[in-house]
Symmetry: C2
Subunit: 587 residues, 2 copies
């Protein structure tokens, strides 16, 4: 090795040792006859010292001439520092250097390699290899590494077998868009990259693998929104001979294990909530439970009092923000403007202040008496000092608006601490959702999800009311994963395909192998997949997944560092039996 | 759960327990009033018993009617067997069943779900999910799982960080053919799937990650030979501030760890051999060291004695097969026919028998005296009872032929025991190899491999003689992995691209990001990649990798189970701005 120690390991007990270190020059301080160089590697920072008189002149000059990010190798003796630095583990020693070699010089980096950098997003992406040098970024990827190792430890110890499913699979029109791969050997035919290993993991259950897991890359050719990536990583699992409860238990265990080993957090019990309750009380199928502010429906209390807007509204919803009665007129106006922005789309905002002196003041005082307002306050169990915020309108719209307002109030009142974790199972999702565009029902989860037995009859009469054996894990308002108990018999699966608008021929062409497999002894089974990038971001306390991915793509799906995608040679296209043909109108 | 225990865990101490088991019907034996059912799952086999008189009649009839591979759930009491089966861990008990439920019936499988099956390759691939049910196949994938977990344990404990590199990267014309992925958003442009994460792992070294690993899918669109797969898995690693010795040590450690934990084998010291010696003594850069039979060059001893074929040969090579002097005339004729097959291509085979009585007998006695033959025997250190086999001809051809003959003799004499492991580092590979077709030198390993310092001057005068800091790990004649110390400075890398026939523009277009990165402080680094599928096969004692891959493709790159690749919809092609165009001549 080109070093005897890393830059993070020398301590007082090493004083007197002859050592060789290699690393990057973080900083050079030159006080004339005295030069200090901070040498950095992944493991830490060690101070090198060069002193006129005791250090050879040539070496002293060399040290003084080192530039930022030069790669150097230094030999010398560990000595005790006179001025100790308590902030770093190596701060009690330094290296009195006897020889130094530049292993590779460096041009000045285009941005500062420091925790706080001056580089913009685009620049840092182009030079991602330099951005990754920053401790704050590298630590995120080390967290990810730790998460992967601990996930595997837990799954392995629970008898799950890690199986790699294929990346070159078959395109299916259902769901999001596939990325496809032209086959050279099978002319005119294409592989697809998996959106998830769903059918393969189900086949592994048919094979009797009993418990499968994989940490696996998946692919979706979607129009990229902020914080979506065309390739992403899942913790993917499937279990046989289980009911929903077994899966929730197992993966609550995984979540608990990860929090304990990676974050040192003992997770509290994971609460459960039906989809219906989540929508009703939080307007959202992934409620953030770090704070309350549950919705109250106020139709009964607030309609029929002469306030036309409320009287005509399909739904009136309110939340109570504890201790926010002090909000000024200016703050309330700002909130009103906020809910009226097109992204939220409310027509206005009604408030009731429960003042510290016990009096009630609202923006609609002329329609509601003190008693009316008190009744509303009582509905929330409000106390003096609280602020009630009310929206009204079309049921679906007001639910969504109130959900946004609730989250904003949580932010504004500092109730969304990144170091507090409130996990939640949302259960009993609807099986189907109506798609306005295509005018038919779509599988809310995917076509392999089983309906609840007691709801099957509703498939004919009220498909939208059928509940599925489907569940999501939500942490702090973020959907971490979801899964379901699957259909495991051919007739139910065929019926489901029919309900989803497949002809028997289409079902056979796309999923014939699965329908066949179900006839050869398929066990009851179910599973779950966690979004690994997002799970890492949650653990790291970040809102964005991008820094938890070593080489992410930008919002146009482009890797600006390697400049990909790119054109390819005509020969290559010809070999693949394809031709580029850009439609006129989109040129 | 639908079970209290698995089918592999009940023992005598469980006698009296009320249990619920779920699994597959392996076998039903019906002796009239007495029915036994073997219930199988991944964990084992448990016998269920149904007895007229004590078992309810309906249940008895149900048991008798169960078919092979039905999925059933049985409840009952653990009892001690009268006739114990010592061959299985659950053989001392059986379950007296009180209720049984068919969870899913099964059609008769198209082949036997037994260790020895009657299913042909094609049929087993189409119903791979049934093939995977066979213990012998599932165990191979469990071995693979174990290998993955132990690899990660070792790498993690050695401070390697697992980093996922992207799957959607950029096509480079160098090397094998890329699979490409049309980009919908970036019209007319394509991603490529990685043949290896080579440049990304080098960038991670530039980023200071210091030690990287990944168990990663790679892709090569090659014409498939037997036992090649378009997607395959690598253990991919890279280390900074290292010399060749550090890498060999680390990965010898990994290999040793895997053998110990997965196979219970304490590996002997990993020998080292230069490429030159491997070619000279074994005619092969991946010699099988489970047996000797080193080549001896016999030009000196056997030319000039009047045997025209040898006199005109560029090279005469011999091996000595210990104890094979008893080979009959018929066996020797068969060997001669074998080397003359077109796949081997030798013109003939000369032998010298060192008989047990000390006499020497050869197929060319009329040209060589007893003393001549004795001199040849002495060259090998042969003993009475040995058989010397000799081939001659053009140097390259005879080397290859003799390598094949040596391996065949190893097989014939039972010297290639699958449970003996002889690992070897082959080092000092040539940097370049001449390609007749393109009339230029190619990188033998890849363009990022560093030449040995002392050989750099030869690049101008004798490029083929330049040795690289490159190494392969070979076990039992199979190349398990290879790697190199990389170039880490822009000028050497640019020079290498020039030698490989890149124009500066091409080099910049394809690898500009790497050349740029080398200017911002790249540390000396090197790495290695192990072929994981093959490593698993070696550990499992198999010649074929196919059964170590859950869902392999056939020799036309086709997954016959899901029927992929397949055609895709016109709309999909249009969205991707491509068109299928099959060239006339190949239609």
């Amino acid at each position: 090795m080109l070093r005897t120690h890393t830059c993070g390991e020398l301590r007082l007990e090493n004083v007197g040792n002859e050592v060789t270190l290699s690393g990057w020059v973080q900083r050079v301080r030159n006080k004339g006859g005295l030069v200090w160089v901070d040498l950095r590697d992944r493991y830490g920072l060690t101070q090198l010292i060069f002193e006129e008189g005791s250090t050879d002149e040539v070496i002293l000059a060399k040290a003084a001439s080192l530039g930022r990010e030069f790669v150097v190798q230094a030999k010398g003796t560990v000595i005790e520092r006179t001025a100790k630095n308590k902030n770093i583990p190596t701060g009690e020693i330094e290296i009195k250097v006897t020889s130094i070699e530049v292993l590779n010089p460096a041009k000045l980096p285009p941005f500062l390699i420091e925790d706080e950098t001056d580089g913009g997003e685009e620049l840092r992406m182009k030079y991602r290899y330099l951005d990754l040098r920053r401790n704050v970024i590298r630590e995120k990827l080390q967290l990810r590494h730790r998460m992967m190792q601990e996930t595997r430890k837990y799954m392995d110890s629970a008898d799950f077998i890690e199986v790699e499913t294929p990346v070159l699979i078959k395109s299916t029109p259902e769901g999001a868009r596939d990325f496809v791969v032209p086959s050279r050997v099978n002319q005119g035919e294409f592989y697809a990259l998996p959106q998830s290993p769903q059918t393969f993991k189900q086949l592994l259950m048919v094979s009797g693998f009993d418990r499968y897991f994989q940490i696996v890359k998946c692919f979706r050719d979607e129009d990229l929104r902020a914080d979506r990536q065309p390739e992403f990583t899942q913790i993917d699992c499937e279990m046989s001979f289980v009911e929903q409860e077994d899966i929730l238990d197992t993966f609550e265990g995984l979540t608990r294990h990860l929090f304990k080993t990676v974050r040192g957090v003992e997770l509290e019990e994971v609460k459960r909530m039906t989809y219906t309750d989540a929508m009703r009380f939080y307007g959202n199928d992934k409620p953030d439970l770090r704070f309350g502010m549950r919705f109250e429906e106020l139709n009964g209390l607030m309609q029929g009092k002469g306030f036309g807007i409320f009287d005509q509204a399909e739904k009136i919803l309110g939340i109570c923000a504890e201790g926010a009665a002090e909000y000024t007129r200016k703050q309330l106006d700002a909130l009103t403007d906020w809910v009226k922005r097109p992204q939220i789309g409310a027509k206005g905002l009604v408030y009731i202040k429960y003042n510290a002196d016990g009096s009630l003041k609202s923006s609609v005082d002329k329609f509601y008496s003190s008693e009316d307002l008190q009744a509303v306050a009582n509905q929330f169990g409000a106390k003096p000092g609280d602020l009630i915020l009310i929206l009204s309108g079309d049921s679906a719209a007001v639910t969504k608006q109130m959900s946004e307002l609730r989250l904003k109030m949580g932010d504004d009142l500092g109730l969304r601490d990144k170091n507090i974790f409130k996990p939640l199972w949302v259960i009993d999702f609807p099986l189907l959702e109506w798609d306005e565009e295509t005018g038919r029902y779509h599988a809310m989860h995917h076509p392999f999800t089983s309906p609840k037995k007691e709801d099957i009859a509703l498939l004919e009469t009220d498909p939208g009311a059928v509940r599925a054996n489907a569940y999501d894990l939500v942490i702090n308002g973020v959907e971490i994963g979801g899964g379901s108990i699957r259909i495991h018999d051919k007739s139910t699966q065929s019926m489901m395909f029919t309900h989803l608008g497949f002809t028997p021929e289409e079902a056979k062409k796309q999923f014939g192998f699965l329908l066949d497999a179900f006839e050869f002894g398929a066990p009851p089974h179910g599973g779950i997949a966690f979004g690994f990038d997002r799970l890492c971001a949650i653990f790291g306390g970040s809102d964005s997944i991008r820094d938890y991915i070593a080489f992410p793509k930008n919002n146009s799906g482009r890797d600006v560092m390697i400049d990909s995608p790119s054109t390819i040679a005509e020969d290559q296209l010809k070999e693949l039996s394809i031709k580029v043909e850009i439609a006129e109108k989109t040129k």
